[in-house]
């Protein structure tokens, strides 16, 4: 069915202009009529819709608007058209359909101010959130039976055990890259054997725990934010509060504790796998036997490297879990917010982890833990 709508402009005997519409005036055809009217801008005193076969609200709207703008009156309306026009003519809103959007410069200034203020208010909120976590943890120390053991173990599995595969793979590959690239550079000084020192020390001190923190932030920190955010939207968290269950105790603390416990373990695991990766590539391309590489690691890597890595683990875990839970609990309003907060959780966690890692790298060297 090729529905169409025609319009003819004519003059009556007494010189008044008449615009006659015919055919189908529905949502499928009004676009063409509307465009034609905008181009021609005809002047008429009467709008004749007697020949219109079919009309709907969109058509009625256009007819009524054309008549209104031209100051014309409508004739020949069928009962149906009459009814539809009657229904829509009380609906002529003038309100904007999009919210107020300021000019670019105003927007820029306002946005800058907003960001600065938000930074200050945000820091305060993070601090108070951290305080709440500490207070809840303190309460648990006094009443250890309030600890949600099931939730804690479950999150230890989600954060720790379930991520062994991906963290192992990443660490192995990074170990391969470090050893291989290190060997290429060191060979120029005839110091290829120091590949072992390089791989072993950097894996235990830095890479293991840093890689883990980044993976956990991407995997679990984001999950925390999304889970808590969705629960906030569906009012689950409010429901908890009214029943007398503290969301801090039931949701936030198990997640933070689980990450805190799993991070150093994952970090050590990651470092060990990276060393195995380095040993594998050395055996394959540099002629250093696999077990010789491992034995050499034991000789050249001091114990302090392990501790430096392990000490950073819980710290990074705290940052990742805290950011995830904090951002999740800040969700308000719409589902878009959940996505935004999840992204923020990951970005902030990773940046904070790297900043603190840089600080620690210098700090430990300065205090002589080399």
């Amino acid at each position: 069915m090729t529905a169409a709508c025609d319009h003819v402009l004519s003059q009556t005997a007494d010189g008044a202009a008449v615009l006659a519409l015919s055919g189908v005036v529905t949502i499928a055809t009004v676009s063409g009529l509307d465009r034609a009217m905008r181009q021609e801008e005809p002047a008429f005193a009467t709008l004749d819709i007697g020949a219109v076969e079919e009309i709907d609200t969109a058509g009625a709207w256009l007819v009524w608007r054309l008549a209104r703008d031209a100051g014309a009156h409508i004739t020949g309306a069928s009962a149906q058209a009459e009814r539809l026009i009657g229904a829509i003519k009380t609906c002529s809103g003038v309100a904007p359909v999009t919210p107020y959007r300021p000019a670019f410069l105003t927007y820029l200034t306002a946005q800058t101010g907003k960001v600065v203020l938000e930074l200050a208010a945000g820091s305060l909120r993070v601090l108070s959130f951290f305080g709440e976590v500490v207070a809840t943890a303190g309460g648990l120390v006094l009443h250890p039976r309030r600890l949600r053991l099931t939730a804690l173990v479950r999150h230890m599995q989600l954060v720790g055990v379930d991520s062994l595969g991906i963290i192992g793979l990443m660490s192995f590959l990074v170990g391969v890259v470090i050893a291989q690239q290190g060997a290429v550079q060191l060979a120029q000084f005839g110091a290829q054997i120091y590949t072992v020192n390089l791989t072993g020390r950097i894996a235990l001190r830095e890479l293991g725990v840093l890689m883990t923190a980044i993976m956990v932030a991407g995997r679990s920190g984001s999950a925390f934010a999304a889970q808590l955010g969705t629960m906030k939207l569906t009012e689950e968290i409010d429901a908890m509060r009214t029943i007398g269950v503290s969301p801090m105790e039931a949701l936030v603390l198990p997640r933070i504790l689980a990450t805190l416990i799993m991070m150093p373990l994952l970090g050590v695991f990651s470092a060990l796998v990276a060393i195995v990766g380095g040993a594998s590539i050395s055996a394959a391309t540099m002629g250093i036997p696999f077990f010789t590489f491992l034995a050499r690691v034991q000789e050249v890597v001091p114990m302090i490297d392990l501790w430096v890595g392990v000490v950073k683990g819980p710290m990074f875990g705290l940052i990742v879990a805290l950011t995830g839970c904090y951002q999740g609990m800040q969700v308000e309003g719409s589902s878009e917010e959940v996505g935004k907060r999840t992204t923020m959780a990951v970005v902030q966690a990773i940046s904070a982890v790297i900043m603190i890692d840089a600080f620690f790298a210098v700090f430990f060297s300065e205090v002589g833990w080399i």
């Binding site: 949502i27 609200t57 969109a58 229904a87 829509i88 609906c91 809103g93 359909v97 919210p99 719409s334």
Partner: protein, 272 residues
Amino acid sequence: MSQNSDPAIRITGLENRFGAQVVHQGLDLDVRRGEIIGVVGGSGTGKSVLMRSIIGLQTPSAGRIEVLGQVMGEPCRPDIDIRSRWGVLFQGGALFSTLTVAENVEVGLKEFYPQMDPHLRREIARFKVTMTGLPDAAAAKYPSELSGGMKKRAGLARALALDPELLFLDEPTAGLDPIGAAAFDHLTRELHETLGLTVFLITHDLDTLHEICDRVAVLADKRVIAVGTIPELLASDHPWIHDYFDGPRGRSALAARYPGPVAGGLERIDGN
């Protein structure tokens, strides 16, 4: 337009199963053009599944569904055609949360009539919003800024965006206060009369059933056990129908609607 006498929706032998759980079996239902049909049934009898089957969100295990002359699931006529001829109001409104109310209404217009002038599209969106009884200013608001009742109206505006012939309402008055619910009923009836809509309405609201439904279909035992006007249904002796319409809430709704003879008839049924 020769099929105008055909039913708007014809369902024959519909079967829906999820794993071992059978929701519908041998379900038949005809919805006439231009009527408001109310669908009732206990929780879990598959009212929403029935609606989802009709609008193609759920592929039935067996059976045939014909909507406005188009057999669902058959590709002969492009599916897109039928979707511009119906409007759906989901239970929670299901408004797109990143768009304003007016932009929500515009989505369908943009999709089906991309060549439409933005000014005209905006005008149409605006009068649809006001037509559903929302204040002018609500057009620029985001769904999260609206109350439950306003969300329903906004959802209705979106459902009406394309001037559909068929309107699906999933529990439109659930969660509204009595005044808001009555106003929404009134609006549905008014739009039905002005626009000549066929309305498929899932509801638990007895007042809605009495006020605006031409016929009521009762879902139980995995099929439609009865279709008819409320007095007709009352004449049947299915226990569920009786418990439903003749319970304390059903009675007061009925008394409010039919003072006198029918209520007297009820007494007679009680006597039996």
